[in-house]
Amino acid sequence: MTNRYVYGIVDGETIEFETDAVAGAECVYTISHRRLGAVVSDIDTTDPEDTDEDAQRHDDVLREIMDYDGGTTVVPMQFGMAFEGDRELKNVLRGARPAFRRAMTDIEGRFELGLKLVREDDTAVDREAIEADIEDRLEPIAAQSVENDLFSDRLVLNRSYLVGRDERETFDDAVADFEADHDELMVRYTGPFAPYSFVDVKIGAQ
């Protein structure tokens, strides 16, 4: 297995740990170029199959990286980025260096939390009032937020929030208070995740 599967980019730190990684790999490690490190595992293809299990492993490894050494900032890659070898990967680190640096500054010390509000079946709700309430409670705590796709008629709100580690408890409390005040809604609160929704670095795998 000479190909490298990439989870994310870190600031020069040497990360290495054993884990249940994508495509049966058992260890992740760092390939560095001028103080930027790509956290990778070995893989025998450059076109990994997008299975639920491996997508979950990708997320889990990113979470482990975020927790590594008391907290590590990682620019997450989407599932499926694999490179033929170290040289190709280092070329990407060289070419996209400014974008990775900018992204790292934006997300440093922060992670992503997801919030979905779902109405009961056949129950009408005042969407505008709910959106306004959520905005008042959560936007002052979050560093940024983005609206996600309302993929179901029952979804009233679907947002991702970029929240500082130090603000996590305050944010959790605000979500719990909202839930307590809104019996008419089901709340799906998820995370923390690597901040996928707040980085916009596009690279081509080879």
Binding site: K116, V118, D149, F151, S152, R154, L155, M186, R188
Partner: protein, 84 residues
């Protein structure tokens, strides 16, 4: 006579082909199927759908999605023939 028929009817054949393509697009709506998959997952996570019902629906939707993607690939490559 054959040539005249061909010239007269060619524009209509073109319209029928286009309508057929639109119908296939709607029948095999990849985006709608992807949304259904996400909704199935959400309802399972919220405890509204049992694991068995979730897995069954997921398998159905994944099969439909594979078919839909295949049809769109064929449409894009011009490999879908409109039979009359």
């Amino acid at each position: 006579m054959f040539v005249l028929d061909d010239l007269l009817f060619r524009p209509f054949v073109g319209i029928i082909d286009a309508l057929h393509t639109i119908a296939l697009d709607e029948l095999y709506d990849v985006e709608a199927l992807e949304d259904d998959l996400k909704e199935n997952q959400l309802l399972y996570e919220l405890g509204e759908r049992s694991e068995a019902a979730y897995q069954r629906r997921k398998a159905e939707l994944e099969a439909e999605l594979e078919t839909a993607r295949d049809v769109h690939e064929r449409l894009a490559s011009g490999r879908v023939e409109v039979k009359r």
